[in-house]
């Protein structure tokens, strides 16, 4: 499972970074997806836990700036 953040929509509420701090990070006030291998980044992403976290982030984002996708 992977995710994409539309940074032009993102308002930096930190919702996704609270749900999964090892998948999302706030940078200069807006969120982006941590690349695999970055420090603090989640290594395994093809599991149910990641799918659930991404789904929660997609649904919780107050401005619907996150899209989920296949790994």
């Amino acid at each position: 499972m992977t995710a994409r953040v539309d940074r032009s929509r993102c308002v930096g509420s930190g919702t996704c970074t609270q749900i999964a701090p090892d998948l999302f990070v706030l940078e200069d006030g807006t969120a982006r997806v941590l690349a695999p291998g970055e420090p603090g980044s989640r290594a395994v992403r093809d599991d149910d836990r990641t799918a659930a976290d991404v789904e929660e982030a997609v649904e919780s984002c107050p401005v619907q700036a996150i899209e989920g996708g296949p790994a």
Partner: protein, 407 residues
């Protein structure tokens, strides 16, 4: 503006803050106001930079409580009142803010909120049924205000019979939080109202502990997140915050939005014909004349902003309405244009304190505004009435919206 002292409470500035903001933005965008002992920040770039910068601290109540309300002479009612405010997450920085907000997050996701739409619609219909035959009404006092109060009261789990009690209490909190032109007596009355509300919510929380329902107070009581939970006092404080935040500001979004439409028949026609959807229209209402007039921060450390040095401990007023009419970001910023594609307004703020209730406010306004246009044919401003704005610093809202229609 540097020669003439800035007065945001002058009748002219209360009626039209935009002239003051335009002038400040052009001449002194990070302005020190001796009158308010605060910086006034008016450019979009500076406001949005400050909103996402942790050095602009939100923890501005506890220093006040420590300095003014901790001595032996401090008024006990006022001290208890501010103790309630001090637990509000809007006055917290991380990690306290993160903890409180995380516990509320699921209640305010776009999906959770969408489930409320039928109730919002039913409440809106009920209120419009009550006035439709009259041909005239104050749409703030008899529609927007009771609608938003009923929605948040239902969400909190307040029985319908007790809902009228909430109006008086909500007024009390507004007086305290919005720093209006208050007298000491008014402050004391407001403090009394706040304590009544605190006790009421305390009872509600105890009931929810014994017999939890499908409401927000029950959710707060049961909230468990990584073994964390809210204390009894935090449940009450958060309930007060939700009542207040869910009520006043959404009322003003609906009131200001309706006024903007009534003053711009061409734009209203775009909405009524379906050429523009209510979604983008609401974003434009938030930009053009949104409910948040200033957002207060306190400097945690010295920071340079727009060529000025803001010193640790100094207060800062960030002005979203000014940012939202910054010509550096918005073409024809003074025009209501429901067809704008890009609309990066900061009407709901930006950053970690971005309005938690934004999806709910969007839903309520998205139901309430079209319902008025549908149900009240030939709607227009009452030509005999004069509009007046609440003389408060933090919010922008009408004291009433007198209208008439064919009945």
């Amino acid at each position: 503006m540097t020669a003439v002292e800035l007065d945001l409470f002058s009748p002219a500035a209360v009626a039209d803050p935009y002239a003051v903001f335009d002038h400040l933005r052009d001449t002194d965008p990070v302005h020190w106001s001796p009158r308010y002992r605060s910086w006034i920040v008016t450019r979009h770039a500076d406001v949005s930079a400050a909103l996402r910068d942790a050095r602009f601290s939100s923890d501005r109540i506890s220093p006040f409580v420590d300095a003014k309300l901790s001595g032996p002479d401090a008024d006990p009612a006022l001290r208890q009142t501010f103790a309630v405010l001090a637990d509000w997450m809007v006055f917290k920085d991380p990690p306290d803010h993160t903890r409180l907000r995380r516990l509320l997050r699921t209640a305010f996701t776009p999906r959770s909120v969408a489930a409320l739409e039928p109730r919002v619609r039913a409440l809106s219909d009920e209120l419009l049924d009550a006035v439709a035959g009259a041909g005239r009404a104050d749409l703030v006092g008899s529609y927007a205000y009771p609608l938003t109060a009923a929605v948040i009261a239902e969400m909190l789990g307040v029985p319908a019979a007790d809902r009228d009690l909430f109006k008086g209490w909500s007024d009390s909190i507004s007086a305290l939080v919005f720093a209006g032109l208050g007298t000491p007596e008014r402050y004391e009355r407001a403090a009394d109202g706040m304590l009544e509300l605190r006790d009421y919510l305390g009872d509600l929380a105890e009931r929810a502990t014994r017999d939890p329902g499908d409401d927000l107070v029950s959710a707060l009581v049961q909230a468990r997140d990584d073994d964390d939970s809210l204390s009894h006092d935090e449940v009450i404080s958060t309930g007060v915050l939700l009542l207040f935040a869910g009520h006043e500001t959404t009322t003003n979004l609906i009131g200001n939005g309706l006024l903007a439409l009534l003053q711009h028949p061409d734009q209203r026609a775009l909405l009524e014909s379906g050429e523009v959807g209510i979604g983008p229209a609401i974003e434009e209402f938030l930009r053009y004349d949104g409910p948040a007039k200033t957002v207060v921060r306190q400097m945690a450390v010295d920071v340079e902003l727009g060529g000025q040095v803001l010193r640790a401990g100094q207060r800062v007023f960030l002005c979203p309405p000014s940012a939202n009419r910054d010509p550096a970001v918005f073409a024809r910023p003074g025009e209501l244009d429901l067809t704008r594609r890009e609309n990066p307004h900061v009407g709901f703020g930006f950053g970690l304190h971005y309005c938690l209730g934004a999806p709910l406010a969007r839903l309520e306004a998205g139901v309430a505004i079209p319902a008025v246009l549908d149900r009240l044919p030939g709607l227009e401003l009452d030509p005999a009435a004069e509009l007046s704005w609440a003389p408060v610093l933090l919010s922008r809202g009408l004291t009433g919206l007198p209208v008439r229609w064919r009945s």
